[in-house]
Symmetry: C2
Subunit: 423 residues, 2 copies
């Protein structure tokens, strides 16, 4: 790995000063100007899709040389349709309500000063991501909508694609009368630049890493800039003794099978001992038919002979695949203990018709999203009505759960008086 | 400085597990139980004030041996009156509205699921502070009120005082039926323990350092746990060409002189060139009479011959003393440029009767607190009606400006359905 040098640091500071200058200009631009720039960015992606595809072809050729295949190559590949989707995403972001300037509260104090809280941009947002070029447009769009400068560092696999998209978007922002530096990137994908970025606390207000756990741990361990992150999603569904077993089957099946490779898919199923003999054989049959490998506790193995024995590692695992850990628990408290021990604070669901049990679960489980009688797959900004999602946080500071445009803002206090001084 | 060892790490993890267990219990306790524990803590401080004073006498004796005097010794010293103030502070915190469980928003989605945002505790809050033993009770009270476990690391100078206060408070919490581990501390004031704490990201949700800039920079550089902080307060007052000069004089005088040693005191006065010859001589006379040393730009020196020439360092300085940097600026934009270059995002004030200028300033300056026609000294949780203050943040993530009890919380999403699955 390359080392951070004085040159990196100096260049990063120069870029950081440009970002801060753009941030000041952007914070003054009215919402209408930001929305117009987003429309212009969408139009520009459509108009320049041939150049973007040509750049993407270079990245794909290099990926093929390296023998990259499957899901990773798929994430890298752009098509005319995917570029049109990126443009449509920008238009949707443009149409969201403007978060900036919202007055969140206002009060008059006994001495007559008024104290308001007003929503403002975070400032400069760093996004560190891997091989998905569509993140370039999504992140730039969400940051611009919320009045933030975005500072992008994409993966080297997508370097040509990202550079092409960046050039198109910067030109469109400038054409709309806003600073092109509203969208910036590191000069190279060399890892030393990431270190320079992580040190630049005067110039960046937050870094959001999007990618595998190793990347996110590297960023957290090395950053002086605050980080919003989630390491992994080990989501649980607890089928209570008072569950409607038809709902339980539909929910558990959907949570595991509908899209197993995403962070809000179920990874562990917890079944109350009282209903285990009724419920486990039927859900197991449905899951096995769908190709799911079951890894069970000893009691599960008695009821589902085709399951394999779960190891301690399986309870911690984010499989992101058609694999499910299954445990029979004695009661509600044992379910909560399991979640407290192995959970990742992402999403936990209960299936139960018992009012008091549901109420306890929703109160006592403090994961970022807690669900009663619905699939964990609803733990998603779009599904929850937050609009486009910039990421998800499983650390509690600032944002917790799926993050929409509002989570890219903060609030300042505005005090107005007519000459008051303090005694 | 001591180095972090495996022993430190193992012991920190054992403490962290206890903190997490207490956090789960605390998050389930109703607001009434937390308020009763706070009352019990206040009563216990009153009842045990003799022991606390005896412990404080040991700290003071050691401080005297070391030759510690002045403000630092004063911050360390407790009296019966100061202990009564700590108890009164806890009773006031007990009487605040309970922040936990507040529903911040709720919506029904087209498929019938309901999505609510509910306020919950942050979890476990680390407080690293220096020689002020009253912080022990204040921080413990604010954290308990908001359902958080507090993990304290006080300065070695106050070790006996802090240990005595901690023992009294823990006993009171246990007597009220809540876990004594709601209030924890590091086993020693050895600095290696701070490093163990900064690494313990599984067990701590946030660290709030309170103290000098060196301490805060050390914490930020070494922490994997998110940090809420402010490095310093370089607060500006801008006297516009349309200022009411009587108000301007009262505000500038108050902002500098009323309590110069605190972070919301004015450090730099910016005066519009148009009114400089009218305003500067009169405010300078008042300030000099109050014992303030003026450090001015060349134009200031012409108008105030007794001022000394300001250096570049003076524009960056948080004097925390009866010293003021003064600059004459050509216009509004020059004032904003100065603030953007030298400001610390703490508190900036404008004095002006011009509606449009005030509106621009309050919109365009994104410091954590912006003020029109009032003293910067109102940038304070108590003055602003937030209740007791746990600290102030000049970084934009999570909280920005003075922090009250609500800023020690986050929100989770609660999704309720009746069997919904995702298509």
């Amino acid at each position: 790995m390359s080392q951070l040098s004085e040159t990196h640091r100096d260049e990063m500071h120069a870029l950081g000063r440009r970002a801060r200058a753009a941030s000041r200009a952007l914070a003054r631009a009215p919402g209408r100007a930001r929305a117009a720039a987003l429309q212009g960015m969408a139009d520009a992606l459509d108009a320049h899709h041939a150049e973007i595809l040509a750049a993407n072809a270079k990245d794909l050729a290099r990926a093929d040389e390296k023998g990259i295949t499957g899901a990773m190559r798929d994430r890298l590949a752009l098509t005319a349709g995917r570029i049109a989707d990126m443009a449509a995403g920008l238009r949707e972001i443009a149409s969201l309500p403007d978060p900036i300037g919202e007055v969140l509260s206002e009060r008059t104090r006994p001495n007559g000063i008024r104290v308001a809280q007003v929503r403002i941009p975070l400032g400069v947002i760093g996004i560190i991501y891997e091989a998905r070029p569509n993140v370039t447009a999504d992140a730039a769009g969400l940051c611009l909508k919320s009045g933030n400068v975005v500072f992008l560092r994409g993966g080297s696999e997508a370097a040509h694609s990202n550079a092409a998209i960046l050039a198109v978007l910067r030109e469109a922002v400038a054409a709309a009368g806003l600073p092109a530096d509203a969208i910036m990137s590191l000069p190279s994908t060399d890892r030393a630049w990431i270190l320079a970025m992580l040190e630049a606390e005067e110039f960046l207000d937050v870094i959001i890493p999007r990618g595998g756990e190793a990347l996110i741990r590297f960023v957290t361990a090395n950053s002086r800039v605050p980080v919003i992150k989630h390491y992994k999603g080990v989501c649980h569904v607890f089928v209570d003794c008072d569950a409607d077993l038809d709902k339980a089957e539909a929910i558990a099946f959907n949570a595991k099978v509908q899209r197993p490779g995403v962070c809000n898919a179920m990874e562990t199923l917890l079944v109350h001992a009282t209903v285990a003999d009724q419920f486990l054989p039927r859900i197991a049959a449905a899951l096995i038919e769908a190709g799911v490998e079951l890894r069970g506790c000893p009691r599960t193995l008695c009821l589902v002979p085709s399951a394999v024995a779960a190891t301690e590692a399986d309870w911690h695992a984010e499989f992101l695949d058609l694999i499910l850990a299954v445990r029979v628990v004695d009661d509600y408290d044992a379910a909560l203990d399991h979640i407290a021990t192995y959970g990742s604070d992402h999403t936990e669901a209960i299936v139960s018709e018992n009012y008091s049990t549901v109420r306890r679960f929703l109160t006592e489980v403090n994961s970022s999203v807690v669900v009663a009688n619905a699939s964990t797959r609803f733990s998603d900004g779009g599904q929850m009505g937050l609009g486009a999602e910039i990421g998800i946080s499983t650390t509690r500071l600032h944002a917790y759960g799926p993050m929409g445009v509002n989570d890219l803002t903060t609030r300042k206090y505005v005090i107005t008086g007519d000459g008051q001084t303090r005694h």
